[in-house]
Assembly symmetry: C2
Homo-oligomer: 269 residues x 2
């Protein structure tokens, strides 16, 4: 099994990505799951609708957004509505039997709501209430397997849902981790809006081509917030039997073939 | 089998509707399909985003909207994103294993694009190009049955998709007709933003409680545009084995129990 993760930047070309997923889907005889983001679409829609986007920073310097009910409505519009269905349509155009689902559907991603959130503000730690975010802890494997067995490609995205039926903002990397635990893929392909894992985030020519998984820890000290989170999660994936993780450019034609066949981008092994 | 259709008006209470669907779902042992709209949500979001909403009228006086690419993006946000997932979450809150899908997913509603559209404008018939609407002609029964067999409740909504992978605006009543043809339900329950089928559309006290299906034709002459379409479709449903069609108020508590147990609203038989 392979899992493809697609970032939420608007520069990522869903049509190019769909072309290559169709190729891989046939090659792997349907043993594939897709997980995608939509954060930049969400933020753009929120801005246009006048919905506040409030960045918050955890005590351990992980950035996220304050998830109000209004923010979660825009979240659904962007992730479940716009991007999920556009990607599914692009895949169907390529002959793939794609089915789009969120973590809400059939309690696909079950999460526990964080009743209180601690955030860093002006160097002080404050407690935030009413935030609709959570921590995902269970995947509905049965529903995903049901689709896979019948030859459908599951195209998944956040948000998640709590046992109480609350729609919750959860981290996509955390969802990927739960998928890795549940399905034990040999490879994960992560498509982002950069040509790979960059040594210097400002310099697209600084792609690190090969990283041994044991050396991920060494990268942590120099990494910035979003990358730091990705490295910590990457380390965890390998604890659950992952063989290789590819990180490559989702903005160009043949984003997956470049990684798997031409050796472009980054491979962690 | 029963099919529940939920209108797209914002006054319809998804929480009340979900409560009663949960009751019916248990009563019918899961032999149920839900189809919902979101037209008023869509139009409100379009207005806020500055996306043009252009009403068009067919030569036979059926009203619809000019479906530009921008309009279809908002369509996805409202139907597939906001309303579908909110309804699914409300159902999960009630213990129902609900799964939300659009006609795009797994080519659930296959439609043929109308290359040209004829519209009435200032009493003249004009030809309109570039419209992204179509006529639904096939349902992916296999995918719906797959969910039903495993105890999931399919919560369906438009848009549809063409064989070429175009996302198309199709009429929800036409989708209901295809569902009736495909699944042969004995009863359809339609929840709208009125207490039933009204003799005088301006007077909510003018509910027609009972209509024999043979007499639907007589109502056509006095009916207005949207109702006219619904009557024509209702006549068709009965040609495919439907026993009863209920039309009732989606704005109040126990919208389905009122129809099925208390005899409120309208029943066509």
């Amino acid at each position: 099994m392979k899992i493809i993760k697609i970032g939420g930047d608007k520069s990522i070309r869903l049509d190019f990505v769909a072309e290559d997923i169709a190729w891989l889907w046939k090659k792997e005889k349907g043993d594939l799951i897709v997980l995608h983001g939509a954060s930049k679409y969400r933020n753009e829609i929120a801005e246009k609708l006048g919905v506040e986007i409030k960045k918050i920073v955890s005590p351990s310097s992980i950035e996220s957004y304050y998830s109000t009910p209004e923010f979660m409505e825009v979240f659904l519009m962007a992730y479940a509505g716009l991007v999920n269905k556009k990607l599914v349509a692009e895949l169907i155009k390529q002959g793939v039997k794609a089915v789009g689902l969120t973590g809400v559907d059939g309690r696909l991603f079950l999460a526990k709501r964080k009743e209180f959130l601690y955030v860093k503000e002006d160097r002080k730690i404050k407690m935030l209430k009413g935030d609709l975010s959570g921590k995902v802890y269970e995947i509905n494997k049965e529903l995903i397997n049901l689709l896979l067995e019948k030859g459908y490609l599951p195209v998944l995205t956040v948000p998640a849902i709590s046992k109480q039926g609350e729609i919750l903002n959860v981290d996509n990397d955390a969802v990927l981790f739960e998928l890795v635990k549940a399905f034990g893929p040999d490879e994960v392909v992560s498509l982002i809006s950069a040509p790979g894992f960059l040594q210097d985030v400002e310099d697209e020519r600084s792609v690190i081509a090969r990283i041994e998984k044991e050396k991920l820890g060494k990268l942590l000290s120099s990494a910035k917030s979003t990358m730091k989170k990705k490295i910590i999660y990457a380390q965890k994936y390998f604890e659950f039997g992952l063989q290789k993780m590819y990180i490559g450019d989702g903005r160009v034609r043949n984003p997956i073939k470049r990684l798997l066949e031409k050796g472009e981008g980054t491979v962690i092994f």
